[in-house]
Amino acid sequence: MRKAISSLLAISAATALGVFPAFAAAPGTIAIRNARVVTVSGPVLQRGTIVIRDGLIEAVGEQITVPSGAWVIEGDGLTVYPGLMTSLSTWGIPQPNASGGGERNAPAPPPARGPEDRPATTSWLHAADLIQSSERRLEAARSAGFTTSATFPVNGIIAGHGAIINLAGETPGSMVVTPSAGLYMTMNPAGGPSYPGSLMGVIAYIRQVFLDAEHYQMLKADYEKSPAGKRRPAYDRALEGVLNAPRILLPAVNAAQIERMLRFAAERKIRAVLYGGHEAYRTAEALKQSGAPILLNASWPERDREADPDAEETLQVLELRENAPSSAAALAKAGVPFAFYASDSASPRDLLRGVKKAIDAGLPADRALRALTLSPAEIYGVADRLGSIEKGKIANLLVTKGDLFQERTRVQYVFIDGNKYEPAAPVAAQAEGAAR
């Protein structure tokens, strides 16, 4: 802190009084000078300089001259990382209160009696249309070092399209990096007496939807070619949403589920991204062969504190709890692309704690960092603009004092689209801890 900032000092001092973290009024050019720069895509620069202009990384290197007029942050004792990215969350989408969902008081819809009723399907929803820049969880995420999220609608069987979003912006639209990250699916039955009411029903339903989408596309193409004399195919928003998905997110926590989803993806020739992965330590080879990436839920399974202490635990469950955090290391070793996320109920800091456990279970720290930065960007096809500290990429940066995965380490700033944010006061961090 002592000598970190020169020209910026005044601004941050002023905004520190506000409730929200400092929102830097669009500066022309910022330079972080002589910091330890962990680029992720290349070697670590022990004394590197980063120049940020117009929200982008203009230059990075050890021999960079700071442009005149730039606002300079002295980087001695600081480490700069690419801004962290969670590979799956609902951050940015306002969540309904505990008192009930958005549709309360609405009469229950009649039960679905088959795939034609498109049960529990909202494939036309786009996270990019749902996010709000004031969403309450964004601040905690930034404070923990996160700049980016793969944010998805998650309700139902075919929930909707995710977006890669930056975790700050003046308008929701300005937060969106890409509105089309993939289509999120679950294996949750539709509920009540509706079809599908079981796992096998859900899989059959999704299979039918894919077949319907192919057929729909065929009909549409045929009609467009020569509409005269043909009955036009009815517009189907559920199928439209499936057709334009660049990838499909499928849930797979244990080994049986992972293999099940890989088989399903291969059968339907889906570009699948699996999420869950707690038993991935058993299935790294199968994942490698499939080429499908997997998102690891770093909220590792733990013994339920409300469980009967005398209740018998199975060896399978004990093995899972013992070995789940080693999944990341197994995937890294096998060369399977993976990234981290955490359960919706977990805080951003919990996500980092979970990653720390993966490191303790054998994952090299640099691979852990990659799985929070460049790997998710690659999985979602945005590595050309995000995920590492490279010239031309979006200036999403994390500046810390100390190593990222140490509990004592403090987040000094995050930069999102080149705008600087300081973490909320430590009091907030404690409150977050207590609220768990």
Binding site: M200, R207, E285
Partner: protein, 450 residues
């Protein structure tokens, strides 16, 4: 530990095809072939198959020899009706759920697979529950414990589908006792409705079949055509109509059994097996005439109204009247002693030993159309074998070893000797978890300790 085993076996599959495995000779056994009589002698296994069986055999060079010491060797037990190893029970939302598939929900980690093995079962027909007049697709699996879900599947088994008649499929047509009104009742509520649902479905299937035939006709003539929408519900029914998919129908009462046979006659397909078929003995003549098989319980009765006329003589009467009969378990527990279930048909109805053993080996193999591959001890068949210390129809018999494809999947001695290690591993994991929890409590941020 199991993980390691499965990886190992996987690696073996990839690295070295079965051909490299040495031949196995089981000698000095009381061999109950089921189809070719019984003898004291040996069975030779090569590349997962039985190559020779007889009182005197040539022992191939380098063969692994298992001395049976006069114990009893019989074909692996085949259970025509089981619900183990799946992550789903019923798709109860619809009366026709032919779109769902057991293959999608197999779980190779289910301990019931190992337990079934330990009861001498090597193959089972896995079905879901009986909530639907027309249910989903079933899968025939082998108890290849330690392998992946896809590796459990019995290669070459004809696909099947489950139907269900009587009380279960009509249950959701009536409000549960005490519930007022008619909350989301599902048709049907009567046996009349069950028949209607099935006829309706096959009527639709015929229309669907015609659409596709028309499409293929056009394609053949090089006419412009867009294929019809694929309907996963109707596709399996078309396969039934075309004889490509076997119908396994859960049923109890004579009236519903006859009803289904007549629907099948009307639509021109065959019922492969009637499952449970507790009143099969009342219409055995009609069942035999249709050519349906019957897969029943040994002695279940009285657990519901439609099981009140169930008798333990059911299997024997049907056998005597020319029906192809098997005994099934429908239960992860009963599955472990189908051999003594078979013995009950000797007590009730006087079947011979071979007839009794057929009910759990070659007959279910025929019902699943895998009898050219398994179900008896004959050269050329897959080496799915069970070794018992006593005659398998005795209540005092214990399974000693079980082989599938010539590979030992269960060995009682090994099971016994591995128990301490398993217990120790568990204890260690519990201990480590306690340690982790203690550390966590220590390292927790101060805010959390309040």
């Amino acid at each position: 530990m199991r993980f390691r085993i499965s990886l190992l076996s996987l690696a073996l599959c990839v690295a070295a095809p079965l051909a490299a495995a040495p031949p196995i000779v089981i000698r000095n056994a009381n061999v109950l072939t089921v189809t070719k009589g019984s003898f004291q002698g040996s069975v030779v296994i090569q590349d997962g198959k039985i190559v020779e069986a007889g009182p005197n055999v040539l022992v191939p060079q380098g063969a692994t020899v298992i001395d049976a010491n006069g114990m009893y060797l019989m074909p692996g037990i085949i259970d025509c009706h089981s619900h183990i190893a799946i992550d789903a029970i019923n798709e109860s939302s619809v009366s026709v759920s032919s779109m769902v598939s057991i293959e999608d929900v197999l779980n190779p980690d289910a301990i019931s697979i190992y337990r079934a093995l330990a009861g001498g079962v090597t193959t089972a027909n896995i079905l879901h529950g009986s909530a639907n007049a027309i249910g989903g697709k079933c899968s025939v699996i082998k108890m290849r414990w330690g392998k992946r879900a896809s590796e459990l599947l019995f290669q070459g088994a004809k696909p099947g589908i489950k139907f269900a008649l009587g009380e279960n499929p009509k249950r959701r047509g009536s409000a549960p006792p005490g519930v007022q009104g008619t909350p989301n009742l599902r048709y049907p509520a009567t046996r009349m409705g069950v028949e209607d649902v099935i006829r309706q479905a096959f009527t639709e299937a015929r229309i669907y079949q015609a659409e596709w035939r028309e499409y293929y006709r056009k394609v053949e003539k090089n006419e412009q055509a867009i294929p019809p929408r694929r309907d996963l519900k109707l596709e399996p029914l078309v396969e039934v109509l075309e004889g490509k998919r076997l119908v396994h129908a859960h049923c109890y009462r004579a009236d519903e059994i006859l009803m289904l046979l007549r629907i099948a006659d009307e639509y021109g397909f065959k019922i492969k097996t009637l499952q449970h078929v507790l009143e099969g003995y009342k219409v055995a003549k009609e069942i035999a005439a249709h050519g349906a098989g019957a897969s029943t319980f040994s002695d279940w009765w009285s657990y519901k109204v439609e099981a009140y006329d169930a008798i333990p003589y059911n299997a024997a009467i049907m056998v005597r009247k020319g029906v192809l009969v098997s005994l099934n378990s429908d239960s992860a527990e009963l599955m472990r002693h189908l051999n003594t279930e078979a013995a009950k048909t000797m007590k009730y109805g006087g079947l011979s030993e071979t007839e009794a053993l057929s009910l759990i080996t070659i007959n279910p193999a025929k019902q699943l159309e895998i009898d050219h591959l398994v179900g008896s001890i004959e050269p050329g068949k897959q080496a799915d074998l069970v070794l018992y210390d006593k005659h398998p129809l005795s209540n005092y018999a214990k399974v000693q070893k079980v082989l599938i494809d010539g590979e030992i999947y269960f060995d009682r001695d090994k099971d016994l000797s591995e128990r301490p290690a398993k217990e120790a591993r568990k204890k260690m994991l519990l201990e480590r978890e306690k340690q982790r929890q203690a550390e966590q409590a220590k390292n927790a941020p101060s805010g959390r300790q309040q």
